[in-house]
Amino acid sequence: MERQNPYQPKGIALTLETIGAWALAIIWILPLAYAVWTAFHPPEFSTRFILSAPLTLDNFYRALDAAPFARYALNTFLLVTTILAGQLLLCTLAAYGFARYDFPGSGLLFALVLAQLMIMPDVLIVENYRTMSRIGLVDTIPAMALPYMASAFGIFLLRQTFKTVPIELDDAARVEGASALQILWRVYIPLAKPVYLAYALVSVSHHWNNFLWPLIITNSVEARPLTVGLQIFASTDQGIDWSIICAATLLSAAPLIIGFLLFQRQFVQSFMRAGIR
C-alpha cells in the first residue's frame, strides 16, 4: 500500500501548482514544438499559427538537397560508435585495475584520472589541435574521437560498480583457473550490464551533440558531423529560411528524439544513474 504524503497539495493549492507546472513545461517544450510545426508546414506558415495550415514534407526534401546531411549523419554515427567502443574497452580495463588491484601507485594514478573530471578535453582545444596536426590526423574521425576515449567519468562509474561485485565470485573463478581477463569478461561485465547501458546512452547523446571540438578539427564534408554541418548550413547557406532550418534541425536530432520518446524511462534513469556518484 502506498503511504499518503501529508504535504501533497490539495484544492486550490493543487490547481495553482498544476497550472504553474504546465505553464513552465509549455515554455520548456516550445522550441521543439515550434520546430516541429515549422518543419512540417509550408514556409508561409512559419510565423503564422493556423490550425488549418496544410502539412508537407517539402522542407525536409529541400534541406536534404541543400546539404549532405546523409553524409553528416554517417559521420556522426561513426563518431559516436568509435568513441563508445574506445570508451568501453579502455574504461572497463582501467576500472577493473583500479577496483581489484591494489598495486603501488594506484591511488596516485586514480587521482590523475579524476583530474579529467575538472579539466575536460573541451577546454584544451588549442593544444589538442596542435597534437592532431603533428600526427597528421586533422579532419578525420579518429581525431574527433581520441581525446574523449579515456573518459574519467566512465572509469569512475565502472570502478564503483565493479567494487560492489562480491570478491567471493572473483576468488571462485580464480580457483577454477580463470585468468584475469576471463574473470572480467564472465563475472564483472555481465553484472554491470545496467551501468553499461546507462553509460552508453549518456555517452552517445553527449557526443552526438558535441560541437566545438568537431568544428575545430574538421574541415571537409567527409569528416564533419551533424552538429557542425547544421551550423554551417544554417549560418551561411540559408539566410533566414526558418522552415528549412527547422527541418534540418529536426533531421540532425531525430535519432536522439525518437530514441528518447521510445525509451524515455531508460534515458532519465541512465542520466540519473550516471550522475550520482
Binding site: V123, N209, I216, I257
Partner: protein
C-alpha cells in the same frame, strides 16, 4: 612473487586508458602553461621564449576583460537560476500532479537535444518583429527590440538559453534525492503541525544539500564550458558584449591563429577550473565521494 605479478597486471590494465589520458588531457594542460611563455611562430620565425609578454598583452586586452566579466555574469546568472528552477521542477514533478510523466519529459527534453540545433530555434524566438517573443510582447503593445543585436540584452539571451538547456538535467538529480527522503519524515512533520514551507525549509532542503552541492559544482563547470549557443546566437557580439572566455579562446586560436595568446587565455581558464575543484574539495571535505 605473487605480489609482483599482481602489480604488473594492475599496471597493464590501467595503462591503455592512462596513456590516452596523458596524451590528450595532462600533457595538453601542461603544454598550455608552457606555451603561454612563448611567442606564436609566424612564417619563418619560430616561437621563442618571451617570459610574461603574453600575460602583459592579456592584462592590457579589453576584450579579455570583457570576456572574463561576461563569464562571471554568465556564471552568476545561470548557476542560481538553473538550480532554483530545477528544484522547483523536481518538487512539482514529485507531487501527484495531472500528467506528471509528461511534465517530467517536457522539462528533461532540452537535455538530449543538440545545443547547436536548438539555438537556431531560439534565434528565431529572439528575432525582432516577427520572432515569437515579439509576437507575444507585441500583443501587449511593447515596442520592438533587437534582443540579440543590442549589447544591453545579448548576454541576457545567452544566459536564458543556457538555463533552459540545463535546468531539466539538474532536475532529475533533485528528483532522485527527493524520492529517497523517507515518507515517515513527512508524516512526523505533519503530526507536529509543520507547514509545507517549514517542512521544505527544515527537512527537505537540508537533506538535499549534497545534491545541491553536486549540481552547484556541475553548473559552475558548465558556465565555463557551455559556449555552443554563442556560435549561433550572437558570435560574441555586438561589441563583444556576449563573448565568453572559451569562445574568445576559439576566436584567438582558430580565427586569428595566435596560438600562444590562446594558450595564455586557456591557462586562465584552467586556473579557474582548478579553483572550482578547490571549492569542491573544501565543501565536500567532510564527505569524501571518491571511496
Amino acid at each position: 612473487m605473487k605480489r609482483f605479478s599482481l602489480t604488473i597486471q594492475g599496471w597493464l590494465l590501467v595503462l591503455p586508458a592512462l596513456s590516452v589520458l596523458v596524451v590528450f588531457t595532462h600533457w595538453p594542460a601542461l603544454a598550455t602553461f608552457i606555451d603561454s611563455f612563448y611567442s606564436t611562430p609566424k612564417g619563418r620565425r619560430p616561437s621563442r621564449f618571451i617570459g610574461l609578454d603574453n600575460y602583459e598583452q592579456m592584462v592590457g586586452d579589453p576584450v579579455f576583460w570583457k570576456a572574463a566579466t561576461n563569464n562571471l555574469i554568465f556564471l552568476g546568472g545561470t548557476v542560481p537560476l538553473s538550480i532554483a528552477l530545477s528544484l522547483i521542477m523536481a518538487l512539482w514533478v514529485n507531487d501527484k500532479l495531472k500528467g506528471r510523466a509528461a511534465l517530467r519529459m517536457a522539462f528533461f527534453t532540452p537535455t538530449i537535444l543538440p545545443m547547436i540545433a536548438v539555438a537556431n530555434i531560439w534565434l528565431f524566438f529572439f528575432t525582432p518583429q516577427y520572432g515569437l517573443l515579439e509576437q507575444i510582447t507585441g500583443l501587449f503593445g511593447a515596442p520592438s527590440w533587437p534582443w540579440l543585436g543590442s549589447d544591453k540584452t545579448a548576454l541576457f539571451c545567452v544566459i536564458i538559453v543556457a538555463v533552459w538547456k540545463e535546468a531539466g538535467f539538474f532536475m532529475i538529480f533533485y528528483l532522485a534525492a527527493l524520492q529517497q527522503i523517507s515518507p515517515a519524515l513527512g508524516e512526523a512533520a505533519s503530526l507536529e503541525g509543520a507547514s509545507r514551507w517549514m517542512f521544505f525549509r527544515r527537512v527537505q532542503w537540508p537533506l538535499l544539500m549534497p545534491t545541491t552541492l553536486f549540481i552547484l559544482i556541475n553548473a559552475m563547470i558548465n558556465a565555463f564550458r557551455l559556449v555552443d549557443h554563442v556560435f549561433v546566437l550572437t558570435h560574441g557580439g555586438p561589441n563583444n558584449s556576449s563573448t565568453l572566455l572559451l569562445y574568445y579562446i576559439y576566436e584567438v586560436g582558430f580565427k586569428y591563429w595566435d596560438t600562444a595568446y590562446a594558450a595564455t587565455l586557456t591557462t586562465v581558464l584552467l586556473v579557474t577550473l582548478g579553483l572550482i575543484a578547490a571549492i569542491q574539495y573544501g565543501l565536500l571535505e567532510r564527505r569524501v565521494h571518491y571511496r
